[in-house]
């Protein structure tokens, strides 16, 4: 009979966290930012069909970095949670806070109890009637939850992107300006000491927005909208027309 090695809980949790962080660091970053017209979600993603950004409900969107199969199953679970809640109660009873705490519980349970933690980091964003009513929740692999204001950056080298975005983002920007600031900042994800990468084109980006008042602008309560490559090309030219 082999002897079971003793591992302290501290060591066990540290090893798991290191493992999850390493997995997340392999992917490219995602930026979620509030602006005047709503919330913009910007991801570096060369695939046109395997999405990192998704619609959850009327005013709620989802963004993720890490392992695709893991965050995709979390996204689908989120859509089911929201649709069941909206169907059993009412559409206005579905909130980002409720969804984020369900995600936090699932991620926390997997982190402590399963053999391998999820290698993902999530953002749940809900657009409000004004910017002060926007909610952006950030969820990490261990089930930690944070309520952020303004913008968040997720991914391996998030700190360098945050530094770059601080000087470029402000609350009065429209979607075009906000998305340009985010795309420009994503070039710095090589870390603080490396050179920024060349300009990112629409082919390697995935961009979606949550419109602040979709009912008046588009006649629907669903605020989530993917920004097409053509539309993005127009936005990424500095003096291009706003959308």
């Amino acid at each position: 009979m082999t002897q079971q090695f003793y591992v302290s809980p501290e060591q066990l949790m540290k090893d798991r966290a290191d493992f999850a962080r390493k997995g997340i660091a392999r992917g490219r970053s995602v930026v979620v930012l509030s602006c005047r017209e709503g919330i913009a979600l910007v991801a570096e993603n060369p695939s046109p069909s395997l999405h990192k950004l998704g619609e959850i409900y009327d005013r709620i969107a989802f963004a993720a970095v890490g392992k695709y199969n893991e965050f995709e199953s979390l996204r689908q679970a989120g859509v089911r949670y929201a649709d069941v809640r909206g169907y059993s109660y009412d559409r206005e009873d579905v909130t980002a806070r409720g969804l984020a705490s369900v995600y936090a519980q699932s991620l926390g349970a997997v982190f402590t109890a399963e053999s391998k933690p999820f290698e993902v980091e999530l953002a749940v964003a809900e657009v409000g009637a004004s910017m002060t009513q926007d909610h952006i929740y950030r969820l990490t692999f261990d089930g930690s939850i944070a309520d952020e204001t303004g913008f968040i950056v997720m991914g391996g080298q998030a700190d360098a992107v945050v530094e770059a975005l601080k000087g470029r983002w402000n609350a009065d920007q429209d979607f075009g300006e906000g998305i340009r600031a985010a795309v420009d900042s994503l070039r710095y994800d090589g870390g603080p000491n490396s050179e920024p990468r060349a300009h990112l084109g629409s082919q390697t980006l995935e961009v979606a927005v949550l419109d602040r008042s979709p009912l008046t602008t588009r006649g629907t309560v669903r605020a989530f909208r993917r920004v097409s490559n053509q539309e993005l090309d127009v936005m990424l030219t500095p003096d291009g027309a706003a959308l």
Partner: protein
């Protein structure tokens, strides 16, 4: 553990909201109700919605419903709406037991939106019609107790670029209709009007007028169908669906159409 792996894939493959809720919380489904073992008498038990007309026109399809709900010989509501957008490119009209029909409509709307979010693409028009047929089939036990729901479904087929129209029976039978169709107690009269008024390649404005006039004829001869109510300024609910999506026709247009019909009939001064 190959069994477990297969089960995981099966769970992940399901994109249907109604299948999911049937497994998780079956009591939330409209078909979970039981009206008890009394003889068929649903008409007196709960409000009934009547007369939906639908017709194709150049570039799309239109659906219209009157505003009356009846409970036996009583008018239960003058404001009820029986035509709803199901998603961006389809609309749904309901005749029959109003409470159950409204629940089926809500479930159907969530079903389509759920599929769209999970799959990242819209369901095909035939797929939508088949899902609706399955929901009506699930309601068959209640239909046999007198609480039947008979929908009419119309949508724009984005691959074939045409408007299409489907009717259903209480067993979930699905029938594609050509040109125009009508359901509900006033449908025989509306159908007669549609036969005379409908022409190929109607414009959208003309199609609205044809729909309002056929509902007028249905209301004229069927006591369960409400006509245009000039006192309360209530007009039918009309939706059009074309390549740009579903659109509700504004009240003002409907008021004009209804008043035009009333005026022309008063002028001719005929009895029937």
């Amino acid at each position: 553990m190959p069994e477990d792996a297969a089960a995981t894939i099966g769970r992940a493959a399901s994109t249907s909201f109604s299948d999911y809720i049937a497994a998780q919380n079956p009591a939330a489904l409209p078909s979970a109700r039981n009206a008890g073992n009394h003889a068929a008498g649903g008409a007196d038990l709960a409000p009934h919605a009547t007369t939906i007309v639908s017709l194709t026109y150049a570039g799309g399809v239109l659906m219209a419903g009157d505003r009356r709900a009846t409970m036996g010989n009583i008018i239960a509501s003058r404001h009820i709406e029986k035509v709803f957008p199901a998603d961006m490119f389809s609309v749904l009209g309901i005749a029959g037991s109003a409470g159950i029909a409204l629940d089926i409509t809500r479930l159907f709307q969530v079903e389509l939106e759920h599929y769209e979010k999970i799959e990242g693409t819209r369901m095909s028009l035939d797929g939508k019609a088949n899902r609706l047929a399955a929901m009506i089939r699930a309601n068959l036990p209640l239909a046999l107790q007198g609480l039947a729901v008979v929908p009419l479904f119309a949508g724009f087929d984005t691959t074939r670029r045409i408007g299409r129209l489907f009717s259903f029976d209480v067993t979930g039978g699905r029938y594609e209709e050509q040109e125009h169709h009508s359901v509900g107690s006033g449908s025989v009269f509306a159908r007669g009007a549609l036969k005379k008024l409908w022409k190929p390649n109607l414009g959208e404005d003309e199609a609205v007028k044809v729909a309002v006039e056929s509902l007028y004829d249905a209301a004229d001869d069927d006591s369960a169908t409400g006509g245009p109510d000039v006192v309360r300024q209530l007009w039918p609910v009309v939706y059009t669906v074309n390549g740009a999506g579903a659109r509700r026709i504004p009240e003002r247009t409907l008021a004009e159409a209804a008043e035009e019909i009333i005026a022309s009939r008063s002028v001719s001064g005929r009895e029937a």
